[in-house]
Symmetry: C2
Subunit: 336 residues, 2 copies
């Protein structure tokens, strides 16, 4: 095995978030008229994006994208990280690229030219701090196998991919290409199941991946139950334990469970001093976990770091932070 240049590579939809607060009534009204499931991610087209933007209030823009958020955390903690994903040659593309590079992430996927604009996700945060996402993929949907840089994938200890990639055929090919290169080079592949509805849309694909092509799975309680159509979280845990060597399952305020062979490690959540916005909680958990995993920490410490970062992110608006995260790593236990 050749040496690795990156601890973690993220592959996913390159998105800029448009964040605003909204009432439950607003979500209910939008749901009735156009379909908008509270707490879930709905894909929207250009026309609907314009309409929705016209309906929401004053907003804030912040780089987002599930895997990109995770990678920003990994790099923020001080690891070597890379990202592959597609933005356009436009101002929001500049924003996305700047924010990754500013946290030290290697990002060199060629920009999309003269076609769709950079993707954006309209995130409505309700008074309960829950986020409801509406994604216009734009240029992100044009990510394809050709964008996968072999030298980047082969140089990463872990390639981490979001399940959302499966919403587009070309991106699915890109996903497969990453997986092939990683495995051919003896690297590991991690998958996030992204969203319960995304799991419903791609259950067979995801089951096949978890069975045969993935080393580490990240999911929340609803996603893992949706994957195996179980009635209880416990049943889903036992099924996934037999399928994949390392699994991290998040449960919001109930913490998380790490499953590795016979081991089951329960990780406590850390209550935020003020819960502001759950956007990016799972992404941040995965970021903390993967930093620990690729830097020699034991699994308990990986989970604890995941909890710490998730709490940091839900204590503020949006999925990214410009805080110095390096001190978060202090005092955690390295694997013996």
């Amino acid at each position: 095995m050749t040496s690795t240049k990156f601890d973690v590579l993220g592959v996913g939809n390159a998105i800029v978030d448009v964040l605003t607060h909204a009432s439950d009534e607003f979500i209910a009204e939008q749901n009735e008229k156009y379909g908008m499931m509270k707490g879930a991610m709905t894909l929207i087209d250009t026309e609907r994006a314009e309409q929705l933007y016209g309906d929401i209030g004053q907003a804030t823009e912040m780089s987002g994208g599930s895997a990109a958020n995770t990678i920003a955390i990994v790099a923020g903690l001080g690891a070597e990280a890379a990202f592959i994903g597609k933005v356009a040659e436009d101002q929001l593309g500049d924003v996305f690229a700047h924010d990754l590079k500013a946290t030290g992430v290697h990002f060199s996927t060629p920009r999309l030219k003269n076609n769709h604009p950079t993707g954006r996700c309209f995130i409505l945060v309700t008074p309960d701090a829950q986020r409801t996402m509406n994604t216009y993929l734009g240029a992100a949907a044009e990510f394809e196998a050709e964008d996968v840089q072999e030298n980047v994938v082969s140089a990463a200890k872990v390639s981490y991919m979001e399940g959302y990639l499966f919403d587009k055929e070309a991106a699915k090919d890109g996903y497969r290409r990453v997986s092939e290169i990683a495995r051919a080079n003896g690297r590991e592949v991690a998958l996030s199941l992204s969203d319960p509805f995304c799991v419903e849309r791609h259950r067979e694909d995801f089951q096949d991946l978890v069975d045969h092509h993935v080393d580490i799975v990240f999911a929340n309680e609803q996603e893992i139950m949706a994957l195996y159509q179980t009635e209880t979280f416990e049943e889903a845990q036992e099924i996934v334990r037999s399928k994949c060597k390392l699994v991290a399952l998040t449960r919001g305020p109930k913490g998380s469970v790490i499953i590795s062979g016979n081991q089951t490690i329960k990780i406590d959540a850390i209550e935020p001093s003020e819960l502001k916005d759950t956007t990016g909680a799972g992404d941040a958990y995965a970021g903390g976990f993967l930093y620990g995993y690729t830097n020699g920490y034991d699994l308990k410490a990986c989970g604890d770091l995941g909890s710490l970062l998730a709490t940091e992110i839900i204590s503020q608006m949006g999925p990214r932070t410009d805080k110095d995260l390096k001190n978060f790593v202090e005092g955690l236990k390295k694997a013996s």
Copy 2:
């Protein structure tokens, strides 16, 4: 006098803010290399904007611009408001226009095409919550007299303009045109002095305006002392009292002073539960004040509303909020 359609019209630089935290060391280093005065606003060109963007960390984008921030507050409180300023036909221009319209502001200045991009202000927030601004004017600098819509100006009770407009000749002409139309229609003109260095750059112009062309002046302690080159705040108060019929002078945590003829009304500041970022504090004060002034509140209530809004804005990152501000007006005293 014909009836008014707008309570307040704002005229100023149309800007999107790029907000990030930075250390005092970073500011000192940038100051040494390129000139960057802590707490002040520095104008920068395209090249410097790119360089600075490359040097700062993960950022958040939010609509800004001094007068535009004020107008967003006025509209957020429930008044009829309009804005005149120049953005380009680009994504940041869309962001700026969306955020004004989303708060109910009438905004129909034609966009600049095929020329400079929408202006942006790189705002560095230091650990003391002070903001240091670096403005690339872009399209905002192309604002000129032709952009001034007579039907909008003549329909506004008060036309509020930022001193920053004086940094460009064409914008200065635009300023004069607004002032002429407003006065010809028996409306009032308000001016914010913007920044002590802006006052230094345009002292004679500003003195002439305050003496002859302005009904309401907004300034902070440093700006009014810079305008009259006085050694004490008290001296500056007495000079401006003789020049202008209504003056609101802000002093940060020391509150504000409203001067109207023989009256001197002291307004207390309201301590924020957590001071996060002083960006937009003066803009928000002016917004609260002007809402009150144009809606029949007495001067004390105008100042109190200014304090309330300033405190709201400094309790968060950035100069705008998507909170419902309408309840801020409750319980304040109308003029008898």
